[in-house]
Symmetry: C2
Subunit: 256 residues, 2 copies
């Protein structure tokens, strides 16, 4: 049975997609069988891997709301050992549609159950909110990786994120746990970055990954070429950081 | 009657809150009567102005979902000429609660109607999604300012944003219009920034504000002190940009 990870933080622009895409492609490059699920109506993970959102036959929306077979919806081998369940803007309407459905929080878990045995790891890229899509991810996941930008405003919502996770843990998914928090966009030239890292270390004493992802424009450029950082510039600081983070994630979830 | 502006973009972390806080405080410093409405459950606009989210008697949530009197909920004179309708995480549950209510898209417009005559400008800071909260903002607003980060992934969702605005314009608010798009976090050292600006200029030929907000760590530091950029570092490039943007906004909405 694979381990399912949700990349979540309701604060926008903190590196959820960048982390999901680069950790999943790195783990796949090591030979693990990986699925990345794009659960964001923006479909950034889908296009960061070079897939055309408009050309998706079936997408996360169909699987979630209409119970489409995930095996049919998944784009297999978007990279060696990496499959993608892509998203397009049909997903934007999902939250309102899900509210009316029974077991609305468990739709994703039920949808992934039949295929989770095919993968060593499943990573879910969440939208910047704590609505029903993210609650579905928390219900389907074994654990959560929280990317936190090294900026003050990114600290604000952490309590809310933890409270939502606790709620899901108590009511829907007792196994849910924070696998770790990863500091992103660290800029060594500013005091602000270091102050935020210290703050988070106090908030999550035993959960911070050792890897700190530096701010690096190469990471922001890679998606415009539909490439991962390992493909776009494998010698960059960003590539090094995501290899290291991938190793830490693999170790914490017990990948061989 | 005041002009109501929504700061919106479902892409996260593009500078919606930073723009709402600094434009509103600049216009207030010119002597205009301004209200800033925090419509994001993260409450970043509320804390960026130094207000304590936990100490709010009434908040945007109460006004929106329980029809509380906005005059009682507003924190008046958080700065000279600037009032704040603050948000806290009670707002996180609003989207699910709003779905069941009649006229769910018009709750904010109805709530602001009795007080809009007290202000020259009302700015609404939206969360990073196109759900019911942002639809409420589009229904209540005369026009929308779209902050766009100078990064590739920020281009992806623009069509979706325009489609959602069109939908609201056709069904709920025929006056709705894009006041302008403002490019944010421009980094003159990278080609990426310039490429994105050129892309957006082609997408929105007549709508781009002349002001381009540079990436400046002072803008990221100011909220941790509960200060606007004008207070924190009024000689910084960020302060200059937001004064200039404020002037452009004032001119486009016809403020004297
Ligand atoms: N370490 C980094 N250095 C520089 N730029 C980065 C870094 N990580 C991500 N970016 C860029 O910053 C922006 C935000 O990152 P990303 O889209 O991954 O965040 P997100 O949390 O998924 O955003 P959203 O909340 O909209 O889903 C993107 O343009 C991305 O390319
Ligand atoms: N021009 C800038 N230069 C540097 N940092 C900036 C700039 N504008 C905003 N920031 C910082 O970038 C982060 C994102 O900005 P902000 O929170 O205003 O975006 P947002 O669109 O409101 O995010 P969300 O989608 O979460 O609501 C914040 O930490 C902010 O302080
Ligand atoms: Mg994302
Ligand atoms: Mg914001």
């Amino acid at each position: 049975m694979g381990h399912t990870l949700a990349l979540a933080n309701q604060k926008g622009g903190v590196g959820k997609t960048t982390s999901a895409v680069n950790v999943s492609s790195y783990l796949a490059s090591l030979g693990h069988h990986v699925l990345i699920v794009d659960l964001d109506p923006q479909g950034n993970a889908t296009s960061s891997l070079g897939a055309d959102k408009r050309a998706l036959n079936l997408s996360t929306y169909d699987v979630l709301v209409h119970g489409a077979d995930p095996r049919e919806a998944v784009i297999s081998k978007i990279r060696p050992n990496l499959d993608l369940l892509g998203a397009n803007n049909a997903l934007a309407g999902a939250e309102v549609e899900l509210v009316q459905l029974t077991n609305r929080e468990q739709r994703l878990r039920r949808a992934l159950e039949p295929i989770s045995g095919d993968y060593d790891v499943i990573l879910i890229d969440c939208p910047p909110s704590l609505g029903l899509l993210t609650v579905n991810a928390f219900t389907a996941a074994n654990s959560v990786v929280v990317p936190i930008q090294c900026e003050y405003l990114a600290l604000e919502g952490l309590m809310q994120l933890i409270n939502t996770m606790d709620l899901v843990k108590r009511r829907l998914n007792p196994a849910l746990d924070v696998l770790g928090v990863v500091m992103t966009m660290f800029d060594s030239r500013t005091r602000l970055s270091t102050q935020v890292v210290e703050n988070v270390r106090r908030f999550f004493p035993n959960r911070m990954f050792r890897t700190i992802v530096p701010r690096s424009v190469r990471l922001a450029e890679a998606p415009s070429h539909g490439q991962t950082i390992l493909e776009y510039d494998s010698r960059s600081a960003g590539a090094d950081a995501y290899r290291q983070l991938g190793d830490e994630v693999a170790q914490r979830i017990g990948l061989p």
